[in-house]
Amino acid sequence: METFKIGLSLIKDSFFNAISGRRLYNIWMAWLTALMLVGIYCYSQQLEFGLDITGMTDRVSWGLYISNFTFLVGVAAAAVMLVMPTYILKDVDFKQSVLIGEGLAVSALLMCLAFVVADMGGPARLWHMIPGIGVFNFPNSMLTWDVIVLNGYLFINISIPLYILWMIYIGKKPNPKIYVPGVIISVFWAVGIHMVTAFLYQGLQARPFWNNALLGPRFLASAFAAGPALIIIVLAVIKRFTMFKIERKTFNKIALIVTVAAQANLIMLISELFKEFYAPTHHSESAYYLFFGLDGKGALLPWIWTSISMNVLATLVLTIKRFRENHTLLYIACGMLFLAVWIEKGFGLIIPGFIPGPWGKIAEYTPTLTEIGVTIGIWAMGAFIFTLLAKTGISIELGRMRYKKTSDVVTD
């Protein structure tokens, strides 16, 4: 009964906390709401007319949705890079950023799920996948593995921060014996969601571009670069706009993680390029399409070369300690890295898998406005959810939101 009362009060407090804020906050949330409404409108069009109004065809049958899904799994997994040192290595200066990281993971996962649902031909029939009332093709289909690991990871990343914030909310100290085991599981789990998502593609002998042992490890490296890079940018924004204190040391440590991951990612990129182009085979054609174009068709050329330039430049900047510790440069480098990986692990990975087709057909893919509208709507949804989670979390951590035991919490 007491728990129920605290829960109710927490929800109430969070709600009032969410709807009160500075002018800039209100503008930001209104803007996101408008974008979500655009997304909902575009999705309603898609529901009515079918996926025909996207740019996808029988030749390129996955597009922007699955590209963004793949990338965001990486962002979600990256939260762990902050979790591990804080709770296990007792490196306290990460502590404030961890809740932010986990909030980011939750938002990224919800975006992943939204992108997958947006890509479905029959979203109303998704209950067919629920074990018990449907048929869950486990363990044969890697997609079922992905459903398990993503939802499991979502559960872990909701429950740990919820427990910690709950305890602070009621004025107690969170017990490490309760949450540390969860944290340890989530560390392994994060690697799991990444490998399983890579296996989704890696396991298809029909698509030589994906059927490559480096895909999983490269997923990890690029994710551990792009995810923490985003966290740095988010922390910078939070530091600028809230009372939440984030030490310089924290930035430098996360920057180090980004740097090492970006370097590993570049090494693997070189290895991949060498394999594809030193002794090109029939199986290198997708890579040719991606990097140089085939038959005069090269829609991805400007994207992938932008991505590679930003990737190399950002890694260089990060590698030099003096540059990395200059925070203006650090934010720019992180922004570039994030965009570079979004291109490379998004449509730079998914679309060339289908080009050329199984019989050599080179049919290109261009997303339609409707598709872009849905995509923007889902990103706005992610940002919206993250802002709410972060605002609530910060208010509790700063002691602004506390459970008032005696009164029934009257709010004016």
Partner: protein, 303 residues
């Protein structure tokens, strides 16, 4: 599947309630629209065809036939016939004979009720240049000139009904599977439309309904099979089924029957006296992308 049944009757009750409100407020809607919405809801909550008992199969077939009658006033016949004992279907394609007329493609579209507007085709005929071996990359699978073109030969591809089909492995809901007679089928009502099977197929054998497929009523082939040519809906996969509505009745698939050159041979691989067995035993046959381990039941040969 008791839980689903419970869910179904619960919602059916709600639907009948909603339907009652709807009918009482509308002059035109009558018993028929009520019956239609009831049928739609029972259909929505039905299970995977692969796991249905024969009774459940009969019931869904009956609902689908009735539903078509309510919508168009016309009758169709729909079979739920299973595979026969000692039958394993296989297909052979004579490269020397095919002249690229594409009669097979047209016959397939008419037989299998594919969407006319998007011109969905299960079969692709690749026009290859002589002296360039089987170079699919440079082949043209979308030609509109007179055939046979000088200096070219033709090769057809479609679903190869692999014995080890990657598409079946990857499906998250087991909406596609290999029947006992070797035909790889799809339950169009169970498919969720994720298109993972499409990405997994090395032979471009699968097609997706990007929009609601349309076939003019007078062109609908009314001789249907649940796993074959019955009308599909938006957002689901479909593919060649070796014309399951024909092959299980002892007939050849439409493409074989339509081919004017006799390049296409279909039959029971387990019958030692069948033509397909004679070809496998006496001709030098090969399959495409054998290195992938998919074991297609579709062979090519030359005279």
């Amino acid at each position: 599947m008791d839980r689903r049944k419970a869910l179904s009757s619960l919602t059916a009750g709600l639907m009948i309630g909603a339907g009652a409100v709807h009918t009482s407020c509308s002059v035109t809607a009558g018993d028929k629209s009520k019956e239609q919405s009831e049928l739609d809801w029972e259909e929505y909550f039905k299970g995977n065809y692969k796991l249905m008992t024969q009774e459940e199969k009969d019931a869904t077939v009956k609902r689908l036939v009735r539903s078509y009658e309510l919508k168009t006033g016309k009758n169709i016949s729909m079979s739920s016939k299973g595979s026969l004992d000692n039958v394993l279907f296989g297909y052979a394609f004579n490269i020397s004979k095919c002249q690229g007329y594409m009669d097979c493609v047209n016959a397939c579209v008419e037989e299998n009720n594919q969407d006319r507007e998007s011109q969905m085709q299960y079969i692709r005929i690749h026009e290859m240049e002589d002296g360039k071996s089987f170079n699919f990359n440079e082949a043209d699978d979308n030609y509109y000139h007179e055939v046979p073109a000088q200096g070219h030969f033709y090769m057809g591809t479609q679903c190869f009904h692999c014995d080890n089909p990657p598409c079946v492995e990857v499906c998250p809901v087991q909406a596609t599977w290999k029947e006992d007679d070797g035909i790889v089928v799809i339950d169009y009502d169970w498919c969720v439309g994720c298109r993972y099977c499409m990405a997994a197929c090395p032979y471009d054998g699968r097609r997706f309904n990007w929009k609601t497929p349309e076939v003019p009523e007078q062109e609908v082939n009314k001789n249907q099979h649940y796993l074959g040519n019955r009308l599909r809906k938006k957002g689901v996969m479909e593919k060649c089924t070796f014309c399951v509505q024909r092959s299980r009745e002892g007939k050849n698939p439409a493409c074989v029957e339509a081919c004017p050159t006799g390049a296409r041979v279909f039959g029971n691989l387990l019958d030692p006296t069948s033509e397909i067995r004679w070809i496998l035993d006496n001709k030098k046959v090969f399959r495409l992308k054998e290195d992938l381990g998919t074991e297609p039941k579709f062979w090519y040969f030359m005279d």
